[in-house]
């Protein structure tokens, strides 16, 4: 059950990322780029979380999975603040 939840989180984040990046490609709106990259970071976070807790439960991938999340959030904050018109 837990594995299903982790996988659904990964797939949902990935889907959001792809939709937003597709929107950026179509419209050129940079907000979509930054938010798409943020969701990509979240997808990586969720994917590595799945690997950490389910595939390799004896390992500790906390830093490896947190880094893409932090980078993604930083990009979103940059986009929301400095790219605002």
């Amino acid at each position: 059950m837990v594995a299903v939840v982790y996988m659904l989180c990964f797939l949902t984040s990935l889907a959001c990322s792809l939709l937003l990046l597709r929107g950026f490609k179509q419209t050129g709106a940079r907000l979509l780029l930054w938010s798409g990259l943020c969701f990509l970071g979240m997808a990586l976070n969720n994917g590595i979380l799945f690997a950490d807790k389910i595939l390799w439960p004896d390992s500790d991938l906390f830093l490896l999975r947190t880094l893409p999340l932090v980078i993604g959030l930083a990009l979103l904050i940059y986009g929301l603040i400095w790219e605002a018109e």
Partner: protein, 129 residues
């Protein structure tokens, strides 16, 4: 006055046009679609600065309304992707701007919350063309 503008033109203005200058650049390129234009050429014709026109040209290119040849200097030509702007909507837009410039300007400045709408529209899986 705004109700005389077709819904497709209103939607196009709300989703793509962010300034009067950008619209004028687009309409100029539409009426001279057989030729490529640089930012300097367009700025002379519409009486604006080349730097400002260059930004508008790149925005229109990103919206898939223009094609660009980058060498030896960036030259743009009106060539819309069919999903970006249908021919009949382009003709309606040109006609509407010629006949009711003030109405179109009002539409441009009455755009709804752009970023939030753009963000929400990104999640539409199937686009309305």
């Amino acid at each position: 006055m705004a109700e005389q503008i077709s819904p497709e033109v209103k939607r196009f203005i709300h989703t793509t046009i962010n300034s009067v200058e950008q619209l004028e650049v687009l309409l100029f390129l539409m009426s001279n679609a057989e030729v490529e234009w640089s930012a300097e050429d367009v700025s002379e014709r519409i009486r604006s600065t080349p730097e400002s026109v260059k930004v508008k040209l790149e925005e229109l290119y990103a919206a898939r309304l223009l094609t660009v040849r980058r060498e030896p200097r960036p030259c743009y030509r009106y060539a819309p992707n069919s999903s970006a702007l249908a021919q009949e909507v382009a003709e309606s837009l040109d006609k509407a701007y010629t006949e009711g410039k003030d109405t179109i300007i009002q539409l441009i400045f009455s755009r709804p919350m752009d970023n939030i709408r753009i963000f929400a529209d990104a999640f539409k899986i199937r686009r309305e063309d």
